[in-house]
């Protein structure tokens, strides 16, 4: 999925479980969460075109209903939780506790992995996002992320 997003020149930052794993979290995640640049019309067209080619459809709802995956739909529903031929993907125009894409990008760092280079949300912002989301599953993840932050700070200090 990451390769497809980069090839399609989508402007995005990886957030959520994959970003946590990049920072050292041992939790296994199967979906990709991204924050995209919603102010750039070309970016919306590129992202929705790619999602349409992956036959993306909303997760957890009745299947087989008409669903148009294009930039107009993304403008109407800027946060989408989707399932696709490539796997589950959540696309968000903003991250609770951090802000819109411009703020998310400011608090991100570049990572080269899985054969591609992309940006991931930094650990302090990831913790802020988890706290702001406020769901039990987010709070369950907090002790590990806070320990990761403490240990990585200690490691960089030595």
């Amino acid at each position: 999925m990451l390769g497809g997003l980069i090839t399609s020149r989508v402007r995005f930052v990886v957030v959520g479980g994959l970003a946590a794993a990049a920072h050292g979290s041992s939790r296994v995640t199967n979906d990709l969460d991204i924050c995209y640049d919603a102010l750039d019309g070309d970016n919306l067209v590129a992202l929705t075109g790619l999602l349409a080619s992956w036959k993306a459809y909303p997760r957890g709802v009745e299947t087989g209903l008409p669903f148009i995956m294009d930039d107009c739909t993304l403008r109407g529903a800027p946060i989408l939780t989707l399932t696709s031929t490539e796997g589950d993907i959540d696309v968000m125009d903003r991250i609770a506790g951090v802000g819109p894409y411009s703020d998310v990008r400011k608090h991100s760092e570049k990572v080269t992995a899985l054969g591609v280079s992309f940006r991931v949300l930094d650990l302090p912002s990831l913790i802020k996002a988890k706290r702001a989301a406020g769901r039990p599953r987010d709070f369950e993840h907090l002790p590990e992320l806070e320990a990761l932050l403490a240990l990585s700070k200690r490691k960089s200090a030595t």
Partner: protein
């Protein structure tokens, strides 16, 4: 579906829904078909500026009749000089997106005060008490992000295979 999930699925403020339900004398039921109806009423009042009662009548008429994939005129004056055209497929797409978000993403928040932010040595002891394997974190930190993500991919693949194959 909780009130918050209902509001997200309808793309409307819950207070607005409650006040409008009182004005329309409509009983609130937090389910997907009601969310679709309220979302459509909200769209007609906000985007088109229809009065609430007219929007409610138009929503009822269009959502019970319209299943078309092409835009349909749901309301027009006798001379057809002014009309309301509904692209049902488009509205359905946006609604499904919002409904999915409500059900998957906007799950109920934890009640009560959030736990205090812990940092430094306290973060480690707190994580240890919680049951986090600090050794696992230290070994993860010794790896590069590329190695960590390669390991995540391998673990994820293993889990998928485990789920696929019957025991």
């Amino acid at each position: 579906m909780t009130a918050r999930q209902f509001a997200v699925a309808s793309a409307a403020d819950i207070k607005w829904i409650m006040n409008s339900a009182a004005l329309l004398r409509r009983r609130l039921r937090y389910n997907a078909s009601e969310a679709r109806w309220w979302g459509f009423v909200r769209l007609l009042t906000e985007a088109i500026g229809l009065p609430l009662k007219t929007a409610a009548a138009t929503a009822t008429a269009s959502l019970t009749v319209t299943r078309s994939s092409v835009p349909v005129t749901v309301s027009a004056d006798p001379s057809h000089s002014a009309s309301i055209v509904v692209d049902f497929a488009r509205y359905q797409s946006i609604f499904l997106g919002n409904l999915s978000r409500a059900l998957v993403h906007e799950t109920p928040k934890r009640r009560g005060r959030p736990p205090r932010l812990v940092a430094g040595r306290h973060a480690l002891s707190s994580a240890n008490r919680y049951g986090v394997d600090l050794g696992l974190i230290q070994s993860a930190l010794a790896r590069t992000p590329a190695q960590r993500l390669a390991m995540l991919e391998a673990n994820s693949l293993f889990l998928r295979e485990m789920r696929r194959k019957p025991r």
